[in-house]
Symmetry: C2
Subunit: 217 residues, 2 copies
DNA sequence: AATCAATAAGGAAATTTTTCTTTAATAAAA
DNA sequence: TTTTATTAAAGAAAAATTTCCTTATTGATT
């Protein structure tokens, strides 16, 4: 089911999923002073097919040199621009519990273009605290602050049963995209972008492969 | 590139990815006392096509009743068994920092069949502490404990630059599967199962959709 | 009792994604 | 200078996944 118009959707999602890893690899090479990198090298690092790498990179403006590869600096620059990591977007996080705190502590998000401006909770014990310089407010203050700061993304890290309630609030307050870390699926209007990140799916994949191995013995 | 034999791999990975959400939904319905659920209902909750749901469930032993749907209890029982959530597997976590602590606090992992037996770190400040009843040991003690407890999975939540070092240790100590939360890709022997969980990929997908919207305006 | 509507299920078709093949370029080696 | 080997790029083919279509079943409605 298509949640949004496909007119400009040219880049496959699997490609976008791989790109941050290409970027991270290239950043590492840049730090080490390597100037060029071939699709073979990237593919080796990623454990995928080299043509997959060239296909993926062909969606960007990056062009490689035969017999040499791609300019590392170009990959870093183009890819971070392409992925939207070079402009900072503002977000609010709701649910400053275990996972929420981890995300607030993560400087990686900053590096990848996301600034968490404020956190919200309902637990009086956490409200008023600062987690890695981000203040935790009561959820009722969300509205006023969303106006002030230019916040386009809402991050949901509350218990699953409260996910829909929080999502409804976010929509009402004009959030454009929601990053949902709960296993619950939320219902929002079609024009709101939702990204579900269910860690437990990864667990299912691991178990599936483990059991497969067992069956083969 | 195939990292493992495909002989018994019949279930598509996207299917396995969706199944934990079906399960979570069914568990919710069970709590509410609902006895049957149709593919239409599940699809509506998931925001996907109903035939996708029937296809997915057809990989299991679950059979539905025409005009009625699937038995909720059967979905819960069969799916949790099928996904490997009903037998407890033991894991070690290396890197008891922000993300590591969040995972240690997460009772969801227990519910989905994963028991973190111990955590490891190199920071003297955290070693000896207990996080949600799980003790943090120095990484050097990994070996002895891995023998004692029946640990098959290693969870990596150290900084990206240390991921390979930790992975090498895990392999040396006989771990069968690695759940890697760092953006770095690790190199391990072919028989070791690796699941990379890169949260930043999700960010890239959101940004991509956001920018698409902008282009369409 | 007959009709209607909702649904599962299986197979076909369409779409998406990955892999393979060919070609051309070019750095390095002979 | 010539040859060789490596690589990017573009297109074709293959594989995987999703969506569509048809059929049969059966609970609800008339
Ligand atoms: N902790 C993890 O590592 C982890 C891993 C995977 C998934 N998750 C998911 O992330 C979500 C949060 O998990 P957690 O471990 O951080 O839980 P947690 O209990 O530590 O934190 C939840 C926080 O949300 C707050 N909260 C509850 N209802 C709220 C509301 N209506 N508005 C605002 N704040 C509210 C609570 O006060 C609490 O601080 C859960 O859905 C969980 O399944 C967590
Ligand atoms: N925090 C998040 O929300 C988040 C989100 C996405 C990805 N990540 C990734 O997860 C990883 C960890 O992030 P974090 O925020 O928890 O970092 P952190 O600095 O809070 O924690 C890292 C921990 O690993 C320990 N450590 C370092 N080297 C070690 C070694 N060789 N052996 C054992 N322990 C070692 C450190 O002492 C520290 O306690 C990073 O790769 C990060 O990119 C984190």
């Amino acid at each position: 089911m298509v949640q949004y118009s496909k007119k400009f959707q040219a880049v496959p999602e699997p490609t976008i999923r791989r790109m941050p890893s290409y970027l991270a690899f290239a950043e590492g090479l840049l730090r080490k002073g390597q100037q060029f990198v071939s699709s073979t090298q990237i593919a080796n690092y990623m454990n995928i097919d080299p043509t997959q790498v060239t296909k993926d990179l062909s969606y960007t403006t990056i062009v490689g040199k035969t017999r040499v590869g791609y300019e590392v600096k170009a990959i870093v620059d183009v890819l971070s621009e392409f992925l939207g990591f070079s402009v900072m977007d503002n977000a609010f996080l709701v649910g400053a519990g275990s996972l929420g705190s981890a995300l607030l502590h993560d400087s990686g998000l900053n590096h990848f273009g996301l600034k968490i401006e404020a956190a919200f909770d309902i637990n009086p014990a956490t409200i008023g605290r600062k987690i890695n310089d981000v203040e935790v407010f009561h959820i009722d203050q969300f509205r006023d602050l969303a106006q002030e700061l230019n916040v386009i993304m809402g991050i949901i890290t509350v218990p699953a049963e409260n996910a829909q309630t929080v999502a409804d609030l976010m929509v009402a307050w004009g959030i454009k995209a929601i990053w949902n870390f709960t296993p619950a699926r939320i219902k929002v209007p079609d024009d709101i972008i939702v990204q579900n990140t269910t860690l437990y799916s990864n667990l299912a994949i691991i178990f599936n492969k483990l059991h497969q191995e067992k069956r083969e013995e």
